[in-house]
Symmetry: C2
Subunit: 231 residues, 2 copies
Amino acid sequence: MSLSETLQALTAPLRARKGDLTRAAILDAALAIARREGLEGLTIGALADRMRMSKSGVFAHFGSREELQRAVLGHYAARFVDTVLRPAVRRPRGLPRLQALIDNWLKLLTEEIAQGCLMIGGASEYDDRPGSTRDALVGIIRGWTAEIVTAIRQAKDEGHLDPRLDERQLAFEIYGLMLVYHQNARLLHANDSVRRARAGLQRLLEAARAAPHAVPSVSRARRVAARGKSS
Amino acid sequence: MSLSETLQALTAPLRARKGDLTRAAILDAALAIARREGLEGLTIGALADRMRMSKSGVFAHFGSREELQRAVLGHYAARFVDTVLRPAVRRPRGLPRLQALIDNWLKLLTEEIAQGCLMIGGASEYDDRPGSTRDALVGIIRGWTAEIVTAIRQAKDEGHLDPRLDERQLAFEIYGLMLVYHQNARLLHANDSVRRARAGLQRLLEAARAAPHAVPSVSRARRVAARGKSS
C-alpha cells in the first residue's frame, strides 16, 4: 500500500465525525503531547487537561485511547505527505523527484530534531507492543518506504539510475542514514550530523547513478557472446 | 573516551560494593526488565518484585533508581565489550579487525531482535530527558563509535582502506545500517533485513577499499601538473 492509501485507511473512518475544526485543534494539541511524552504518554486525560475540555468531550471525538493514538499518527502522516511527498511529486519523474523526496525528508527531520520525530520515537516505543497503534505505525513506515521505492523505480525507468539497481536495498540504506542522523543530532547533539547525512545520501545516489556507465558495455558484450553461442 | 574507559567510569564506583555474586544476578534480572519495559520501566520496586527481595535489599546495592539504570547500562556495555569488541581485537589490526567488529555487532543485534537492543531503545527513550541515565547512554554510544573510528583509522594506516577516507563518515554510515536493520527486523518483521544490512555493510567496505585504486593516478597527475605550473 502506498502512503496515501495507508493514510486514507487511517483517517477515513474518522473524517465523517462532527466538529472538523475543533478536531484539527485537538489533533494539534495531541501531536504536541505525543512528541514530548511519546505516544504512550498520550492519554485522553492528558489531552483533556491540555485542551481544558472534559474527558467525555475528548471521548466524543475519539472513542478510545487507541483511536486517539491512531488519529494522531494519521494527522502526522498527513502533514508528512503535505510537506515531503506532495512538493516532490510536482518535480519531474526520475532522479529530480527522488532527490526532492530525500531533500524534503531531511529538511523536515531537521526541523523536528528539537521535538523528535513521532515515527522514529514511536517505532522504538511500539516495536514490541502488538495492537492497532503499532499496526498504524508499521503501515505508515511501509507506505512511506513504498513511495521511496516507487521513486527509485521511476528513476531507473527514466534511465537516471542503473537499471539493475535493487530499489529496496537503496531505500533501506537511505532510511538508515535518516535514522542515524536523527540519533546523532538528537541524542548526541553532534554538530556534523546533517552534513554527514547529506554526504552519505549523495554518495548513495552517485553510486546508484555511476554504475550503468561502468558496466553495461560488458553485459552487452556478454549477451552478444551468449547469443553467438546459442545460434 | 574509548568504550573501555567509559565502561570503567560507569562500573568502577559500584564494583567496590558488597555481594558481587548477588549483584550479578540482580543486574541480569534488571537487564531483563529494562529490555522488556524500557529503562523507564526499570524501577527499584519492579526489580525487588522480580527478585523476591525487599526494596531496601535492592537499595543496599543501588542507592537510587538512576544508579540502578546506570548500573544496568554498564552491565549491558560490559557484555557488549565481551562479545563484540574483545574477540575482534584478537584479529589482526586493519580490515580483518574492522570486519570482525562489524560482524560481531551484527550478530549480537540479530540475537537481540526478539528482545530489542537496550541502547537503541534507550536512545529513543532518553533523547529528550537530561540526566545521568542519558549521559551514560551518550557515553556508551560515543565510546563505541570511537572504537569503530579507531578500527577504521588502523585499517587506513595498514593500507587496507583509502588513506583519504573520512573515518567518522564511514562510522556514521555503518551505524545507520545497524539502526535501520534493527527497525526493519523488529518493528516491520521484514525477513530480508539481515541480508540487506550485510549487503549495505559490504558495499560500504568495498567502496572504502576500492577508492585508492581508482583515483590516486589522477590526483598524482594533477599534483605533477600543478608542480609543473608553479615551477
